[in-house]
């Protein structure tokens, strides 16, 4: 049989090297080293601020290029990976979380970040959002929520408020919008936080806390679309006469019902960590299954384990 037919040649398009700076002496990256393509977003877009704070997170926490993986689906927000100088993937619409789960579950050594928009995460990718949260796959998801489809130029999104006039709801949106925080809490996300692009320090705080969380960490970041939904978040921006209120200190983040109540507040609501729990991750549970089973086959090579299975089929 043709098992030797397809010989894999060694890497052809790379030159293996011993890097001049040894691993131990590498310093963190500068903003210049982390930035890749110039963003294609419109001037004034809230997404710039999320990108800047992602750079800041990488800088501050001294994460090296190759230790992060940035993954996105489709939408304005999801152009993100091209702007970051790191391994990244720009996947299909709505499925970034499934792709990111494949990376996370097979590579515990990487920080996996997914960036998404409201349409990508809650409409076409709604099912994956629920199940990735439920499975508690270790990664951080930032949804840049602008309440509108921007890339396709102003259609109603699943988070558009009722009455919002879009090209697909000329008389104002009729459908009840999704509440991302409620969605995340009820789906079983173990870290649920809310922030807004107009408060950079708060965005960074949330990103750091999310990255440090062992599990599926979700941040809803309000990110204004100045082109198609200008002024959407003014009520949350003190510079525009709005209010930016933090989650009260007395709030118990482990209390699911309290978190749900917080999520039900009228806009602009509160900002901060709504909910956090320490349920075992899918990653840890799979590792446990592997460790249990492998303890029975210690010292055997893979082909010998396979041989044992074949011996039972004689």
């Amino acid at each position: 049989m043709s098992t030797t037919l397809f010989q894999i040649p060694p890497r052809q398009n790379t030159i293996a090297i011993t890097p001049s700076i040894p691993e131990a002496e590498r310093k963190g990256l500068t903003k210049k080293e982390i930035a890749a393509d110039h963003p294609t977003w419109c001037p004034g877009c809230g997404d710039f601020s999320v990108l800047a704070l992602y750079f800041k997170l990488i800088e501050k926490r001294k994460i090296l290029h190759e230790k992060i993986t940035t993954i996105a689906g489709i939408g304005c927000s999801s152009r993100f990976p091209y702007f970051v100088q790191a391994h990244g993937a720009h996947f299909i619409h709505g499925r970034a979380l499934s792709f990111a789960s494949g990376v996370s579950l097979s590579r515990p050594d990487l920080h996996v970040f997914a960036f998404s928009g409201d349409g990508d995460a809650f409409s076409i990718g709604g099912n994956h959002f629920n199940h990735t949260a439920r499975k508690n796959v270790k990664m951080t998801l930032v949804v840049m929520d602008n309440w509108v489809y921007g890339l396709t130029k102003k259609q109603t999104s699943p988070t558009s408020p009722q009455g919002f006039k879009s090209k697909t709801d000329q008389w104002g949106a009729k459908d009840r919008p999704i509440n991302p925080m409620k969605q995340a809490i009820s789906a079983g996300a173990t870290f649920v936080a809310r922030t807004t692009h107009t408060n950079p320090n708060h965005v960074l705080q949330m990103m750091e806390a999310a990255m440090d969380h062992d599990g599926f960490s979700f941040i809803e970041c309000l990110s204004e679309c100045v082109e198609f939904y200008e002024g959407s978040f003014d009520a949350s921006n003190p510079r525009k006469g709005g209010k930016f209120e933090l989650v009260p200190e007395a709030h118990d983040v482990s209390n699911e019902l309290a978190a749900y109540a917080l999520a039900g507040e009228d806009f602009p609501g509160k900002f901060g960590i709504f909910y956090k729990s320490n349920r075992p991750t899918k990653n840890a549970q799979e590792a446990e299954i592997i460790n249990d089973i492998r303890s029975k086959n210690q010292g055997l090579k893979d082909w010998q384990i396979l041989q044992k299975s074949f011996d039972r089929m004689k």
Partner: protein, 608 residues
């Protein structure tokens, strides 16, 4: 093969038993009667006795119950198909008797459960009838509580007696089957077996004994196609998979879920088909080729992500266990009607690889080939198997696992610089660097579904789209050059060349053997690599007057099945015609011959 009923050879040294070379036994009952288990025992016994074996089964798509059959063909020579007609029918119920006596050879033996079956007097002269109170004798043997559960094992005992099978080996198989269960269950099973074995047959009933199988050097293993494929993937080094349940693919995902952790891997059950392929692609990107799979409807759902894998040039293995019809169709029947979606499904120009295993053994090796093609050409590879090969059991020579098992761990060696979509790469083949690999230049790649430049960054350049489109196609042309030209089965010149693919190899070969025995100039060619095709097929075709493509799919609007259409498009050769069927069942040898000869006769008269 078995043209006469249990063709007996000169009895020697064993006065009561006639010597036979092979037998086809069909067991008909309901799906919860455990008739698959009898078939499984017989198949494994054959494997342990160095005999050839092939099985065929149908299962109803209802949740519980419904008529079901299991056919097993055991032979001392080469067994290529599960047999057109049965030598022996075991009928548990009236409906089993009524519906399946027609599949028996004239003069064949029908053994029926006289507790349930009223034999038809009109059929008495055509078949030899043997009524045995199978249900009540089983209850008697096991005693009380089990009702008639275990009658499958009683029947196994009967068959063992009738065919003089190796009792200690069968006892061992029965005991192994119930390992880990209550000892009384094993004892009950053995009691039922012995009750069947010691049932006093009328002295007029002959017993049979198989001619010794040819001694083989290596040991045989016995499994079905889904198992062979699953273990092949593991041998190939696959350690991650994701899927969603659908018949008949689910067996593979269940096997991988159970087995992969032994090797440090994982198989994840996802919320849907799209998540499954997406997760598998993510894992492939992370450095090691991953697998996903499904059957028809699920494959449709996966096609957008498959297109991404083509565009991003990501290696991936996708198993499609084909079943019948579009939409929900015939979930527990067989068809080869996913060839088009496997080769062309999706939007845009999206070249990918399609391979199809020919038998159970080939499922194992095809899985390894698929993984290696995916890695070598950085491309998704669809493995087109089907319901028939998935569920049929065959015995084959145990692979040299130490030799074939491969380690495909990712390479994280730092590099100086890297362009994932290098247009100068030999044959246009992309090699990805897994995340986690340090790149000294500080320029990191993005893998993407947008048309991109060599670094993976988006471009709207018309020239770049032309170059990248050509790059994705050229690498498959390079693969074409590497593919071996399949050998013709039979002489390389003649009247008719039967071209087949996938699970039909056995019956087509048996058809050729039969035809040759009748001095008909018919040969066969089996294609394992469907897309791209190997080079040089036109030269093979030139040796024949007709090229008939035998497929289990519809003849199509223009008179050609799915592979026939591709071969016609590729070679523009008007002697290529389709021989098709869509009854959801495997090819009978006779059907292949009858249809081919009828077609040849029509063509000779100037028809098509």
């Amino acid at each position: 093969m078995s043209d006469t009923v249990l063709a007996t050879q000169a009895a020697s040294g064993h006065p009561e038993a006639s010597r036979i070379a092979e037998a086809v036994i069909r067991i008909a009952g309901n799906s919860q009667d455990g008739i698959q288990a009898i078939g499984g025992f017989l198949a494994r016994l054959a494997g342990r006795s160095e005999q050839e074996v092939m099985t065929f089964m149908t299962i109803p798509s209802t949740i519980s119950g419904g008529p079901s059959i299991f056919q097993v063909r055991i032979g001392s020579g080469e067994v290529l198909s599960s047999g057109d007609e049965a030598d022996v029918l075991l009928a548990f119920y009236q409906h089993s008797y009524d519906e399946h006596t027609g599949s028996l050879k004239k003069g064949g033996i029908v053994i029926y459960d006289s507790d349930h079956v009223e034999p038809n007097p009109e059929l008495q002269p055509a078949y030899r009838h043997l009524g045995i109170p199978i249900s009540s004798r089983t209850v008697e043997a096991i005693g009380g509580t089990g009702k008639d559960k275990g009658k499958n094992i009683f029947v196994l005992g009967l068959v063992a007696k009738m065919f003089d099978l190796n009792v200690p080996k069968l006892e061992k198989l029965v005991s192994e089957r119930f390992t880990g269960k209550d000892a009384s269950i094993t004892q009950n099973a053995l009691n039922a077996f012995h009750a069947g074995y010691s049932f006093q047959l009328d002295s007029a009933w002959q017993t049979f004994r198989f001619v010794e199988g040819q001694k083989r050097g290596a040991q045989q293993v016995v499994m079905n196609g889904n198992e062979a494929l699953g273990f092949g993937l593991i041998a190939a080094g696959v350690r991650f998979g994701a899927g969603y349940p659908i018949t008949p693919w689910s067996d593979i995902m269940e096997l991988l879920r159970r087995e992969l952790p032994k090797y440090g891997g994982a198989f994840i059950q996802c919320e849907d088909e799209i998540a499954s392929i997406s997760m598998a692609i993510g894992a492939s990107y992370a450095g090691r080729v991953a697998v996903t799979g499904s059957s028809g409807p699920g494959i449709s759902l996966k096609t957008e992500a498959l297109g991404w894998a083509v565009m991003a040039e990501m290696p991936l293995v996708i198993i499609d266990v084909q079943r019948g019809g579009p939409s929900t169709g015939m979930p527990t029947n067989v068809e080869q009607s996913d060839l088009n979606i496997a080769c062309f499904g999706g939007h845009g120009d999206s070249p990918r690889v399609v391979v199809a295993p020919a038998n159970v053994e080939d499922c194992f090796y095809t899985a390894i080939d698929a993984v290696n093609i995916a890695r070598k050409y950085s491309v998704p590879v669809v493995v087109l198997t089907d319901q028939a090969i998935a569920t049929r059991i065959e015995a084959f020579e145990q692979p040299d696992l130490e030799k074939v098992a491969q380690d495909i761990s990712p390479d994280f060696t730092p590099v100086s610089d890297f362009k994932p979509y290098d247009l100068q790469a030999p044959d246009g083949v992309t090699r990805h660097l897994p995340p986690g690999t340090r790149i000294a230049s500080g320029k990191y790649p993005v893998v993407t579904g947008l048309e991109h430049d060599e670094l993976g960054h988006p471009t709207g350049s018309p020239k770049m789209h032309m170059q990248m489109t050509a790059k994705r196609r050229m690498k498959l042309q390079a693969l074409s050059n590497e593919l071996p030209l399949p050998k013709v089965f039979g002489p390389s010149e003649g009247q008719i060349l039967l071209v087949g693919w996938g699970s039909t190899q056995g019956p087509i070969r048996e058809a050729v053997e039969k035809a040759r025995a009748q001095r008909l100039a018919i040969s066969a060619l089996h294609l394992k690599h469907i897309h791209p095709l190997p080079n040089g097929l036109d030269k093979v075709f030139s040796g024949f007057r007709h090229v008939f493509v035998v497929e289990m799919n519809d003849g199509g609007l223009y008179g050609h099945g799915q592979l026939a259409m591709i071969l016609r498009a590729r070679f523009a050769d008007s002697k290529i015609h389709g021989v098709n069927k869509t009854d959801g069942l495997t090819w009978k040898v006779r059907e292949i011959l009858d249809q081919s000869q009828a077609l040849a006769a029509r063509l000779a008269k100037g028809g098509a």
